[in-house]
Amino acid sequence: MKKIALLCSLLVAFGYADKKAMLGSFDGFVERMGASAHELGRGNTGSADTSAQPGAYWNPALLSFRTQLTYNLHAEQRSLDRTGGSIGVEGRVGKRMGVGFAMLYRGDHAFDVVNDDDETLGEASPYFSIMYLGFAYRLSRRDGLGISFSMSYDNLDISEYYDDISLVNGYQSPVSFNLGWVRQWNEKWSTSVVIRNLSFSKNLSAVWTRNPSTDNSVISTEGVRPKVLQIGVGYRNTLFGKPISAWMEALDYQIADTLLAFDPDRHVWTGRVGFEYEVIPNGSVSLGMNDLNFSFGLGYQFNIRIGKKRWPFDVSYALLYESEANLWNPLSFGVRGWIP
């Protein structure tokens, strides 16, 4: 436990460190905000948990540990009209391979479009999504490697309000890819490494140019989605005879269009930590911290039997406090299940 405490304090220190690079102003918030209420309840930790879903998002290597077809759904309503959710399906292919699909969604369902003349033109519903298609290979009983390809689609939903400019609503990003490794060292420990947002371009950077108007009347915009190195550790044990687990992740966001940047000002380090405890049979509570956002989660696994087959599924709930903005978000629900 001392090791865990040390790691926690290091992660918190990373989170509080004052860095010149600012993550919030960079592309990639859909990815940063995670998927699934179950993982959100424990601080968005999932990359080292072989049961985390959707695996194509958390760590494509997790897909190699699938033994049956699984599905997951997540929907949330955050304060300030922010909606979000995810969907995933994944399963085993052959003896050693896994494949999965995931889509993450974020949006705002009440964005007032106000013009320069202080007139409200209408209400837009911009949304932002990322799709993942992941493949994994089980190297051994304990190791898996995976790759997922991702592509974003954003829709700002504002073009109808501007007659004099041919504004573009939708933007599709080029394909980028993510690499993952996970190792289940023993019954207690697991570790993972995920590298996100690599691209088939110079410096392997996910860089793109977007032209907001078809008539070139609006200045084009260039963006780079930070490369991410995500290292995860998981620890499982029992407490008072009940399963307990602790999860930690350290994330390094490299905010530069270079292969590797060694300038610390070009990096943002954040951490995630989460705990989950099965307080009653099939029922768990969780706590977590993702950067400076605190979360609390509840989960319960149901087992429905139809004929001779069991159809287990989890229902999860998460409460999130976004501390930098002082916002409470009590509406996050998820379901994940296993199809026999």
Binding site: M22, L23, G24, S25, R32, D118, T221
Partner: protein, 526 residues
Amino acid sequence: MLKKISVLFFCAISVFAAESLVSNFTFAVAPGPSTGTLWVLSRGDAGSGVTLVTLALGESQVNVISMKSDFFDQEKTAVHDGVFSDVTGETRRTPFLYTEKLGFVVPMLGLDSVESFRQPEGFYSVKTSRILETPLDEPIVELDSAYSSPMAKSIGAFAYDTSTSVLWFSRGILGIESYDVSGSISDPKISNFVLDAKDGSLDTLNRNKKINASENPPIFGLSLHPETSMLWLATEKGLYHQTANRSFEKVEALKDSRVTGVWIGGTPIQIIAETSAREESVTKSKLWRSWNGSDFKEVVFRDTLGKIQKDVYDKADYSVSNVAFIRNKAFLAVQTIEGSISGLVKLDSIGAIPWNHTRQWLYDVEAGVLNKNTILTSVAAIPLTDDIMGLAVSSYGSGISVSADSGQTWSHILNQTAVKDNLGTIRMIPSVTVAHGESMVAYKLGQRSKVTIEVFSYDMRRVRTIVKDVVREENAVRSSKATEDFWDGLDDHGRPCAMGVYYVRVKDNHGHVGWGKVMTLGGNRK
């Protein structure tokens, strides 16, 4: 004779509607029909039109008593599409005038062959109860191909002779036109003239006349001398003034200059002329002045230390939008091409009056002339009371500003949607911004407060602190300080934020918190 009596259309004989400006994008202000009233010309997203504003002088500011607006036909406007992008002075302004008989007079432009508002069609005259469209026929003449574009025949300036009830306006290569309403405004007498540069006569423009620009130089601007009622003409071949025998003489100092505008007024009389020409893809502009009957000299720009600075006007690529005279001072509304810099230049007997500012001769947002960093489009002197001559400016996006003390303090008049008290509504104006754009944070406080404004990304990471613990006053409409309370799409380190939705939090020191939303289309970054 080419003259034809134009048909007058009484369009929009309607009760003036809407207690607001047609738009905050205003291009001209002019004295209204009575003391304390003014006309505002706007062209915004919803169309073009005019507003009659009635003002009252308060203890510390100018208050609006009423506003009555009406729109022009959707297919027409008074502000042409090249007003910011044209490169020489003569078409980088919107001419206007208030006349006793015709009311507020502005050009009328329609759509040209490429659907751009650059087709001169006549002029609008607006009185309290109606907008009058006055189409003007284009004289059938033979023109050099260099002057065949519609804007080469656009109205460049108006002048009204109250003693004869004749409205004069310049029409570029077509010379000048007189619109005589001494009989009736529904039965005007219209005459077209070109200047004969050789003998200085004003010749009637006959049908099929071949206009040779070297003999009949295009007339870009005109003005009437307030004491003599003599015409002054700004032409492509110099500045001319009418003499006692009605012929025209060239001003020696500007005899070879391309004069794009002339303005006369003040006590003593000042005559200000602008020269503007393209030389090797660069615009060369200068300001000239005759003070109290003296010879024309280039306007002197002294810095705050009293040292003369050369080429201030030309270095900035300025052009004059209009000039307002109040007693012995002239206030020139100037702007650079595309409006990147604009403001007021103040002239007194010596020259331009500097002040302690990075742009020493330019009175702009930092002097409180405008309420945000936008383009100042015009200026006019407005009688606010029988004793007080006010100054009013129009702006591109920030309505109008009025000063009762010759520019010392300003009151800003613009359309503002109501926001709830105590940070109950945070309104971002506009809520969609582009690279290099700005979005104002509009809010209202119930009491004097210390305010902090921050911008958060969608995932609620703070990306920008706009202001922190700054004092803002209670206000019946808005408490925002437009010169500080805005987001420019940048993070705390000056880098453009990625395209997306951002959330703006306004907090005061009384526990009130409000949120607004803004979308940036991003900027260039790597």
